[in-house]
Symmetry: C2
Subunit: 168 residues, 2 copies
């Protein structure tokens, strides 16, 4: 799928079919994260691939805003260093993963930011790192490709030349 088409059509998805994600797609998703650019190329991140249904259930129980992680066939837990640009760097990597997955028909959603500290002991994550997000992935139960995104009017957030001059 072409990039802008993916950006335009990708939808946050919270229910997944049980169908497993083929290993080559999982690999492409984490490759996309790994290849993303970061400030001063520091790559202050880790990505934990979780496919064990028991662990996915446990994560769904811990993530207050994402109980549906329990039913996904795959989740990537995004772990960051406690450094200045780690949140923005890892957010870019997450966007790369979400778009790459969507391009292969795999839907996802960003699960954060609450209750994630308890994920650390569950996955053996060192105390000096933070869990930024859990990204569950799966084939969507309902194909919603025609759904329209709800966004503020473009002229409210895109300005021309100067703040306050709407972009035509």
């Amino acid at each position: 799928m072409e990039v802008f088409e993916a950006v335009k059509t990708v939808l946050a998805t919270r229910s997944y079919l049980g169908t497993p994600i083929p290993p080559e797609i999982t690999r492409r998703i984490v490759d996309a994260a790994h290849l993303t650019a970061s400030s001063m190329n520091r790559q202050p991140w880790h990505f934990i691939v979780v496919e064990d249904p028991k662990v996915l259930k446990q994560l769904g129980g811990l993530a207050r805003t994402g109980p549906y992680v329990a039913d996904a066939p795959l989740a990537v837990v995004v772990v960051i260093e406690k450094t200045d640009f780690a949140v923005s760097d890892a957010s870019r990597a997450i966007q790369s993963m979400i778009l790459t997955a969507w391009s292969s028909g795999v839907a996802s959603n960003w699960v954060g930011f609450f209750g994630l500290d308890e994920v650390k002991p569950a996955l053996g994550i060192p105390g000096d790192l933070d869990v930024l997000a859990i990204i569950p992935f799966g084939y969507p139960v309902v194909a919603k490709s025609g759904e329209k995104k709800k966004r503020k009017p473009l002229r409210e957030v895109v300005h021309s030349g100067r703040f306050g001059t709407p972009f035509a």
Copy 2:
């Protein structure tokens, strides 16, 4: 360009041809930002399209890490609310813009995070907002599509099931 191909090949680029960016590509770039998902759909962001060479020169003078903004035909200044998830939300929007532009042959780079406060008065940005980044866009002087990204080994940052178990 297919999403993963864009993720794999996109390169941070700091020298641009003077060739202007066609309006439909500029529009697609800001559309990509505007359509990106954000935490609780709050869209805590603004995008200022700058194409005036005088203003681009001024921005290049202010952005300590990005003097090359001065020579770009286009820059998008990314402005965020001072709220909890604004950095991660806007970082996702920036990644959408960078990939969308690259897919049309337009290169870019993230310029931040220093010296950006002075951009606020220059562009009439209200004091209660922050400038997260300036993203200059342009056709690259040198096509570097074959260049290999320098990244940590995959097994160092991608884990299987548990932190510390390298992903094969």
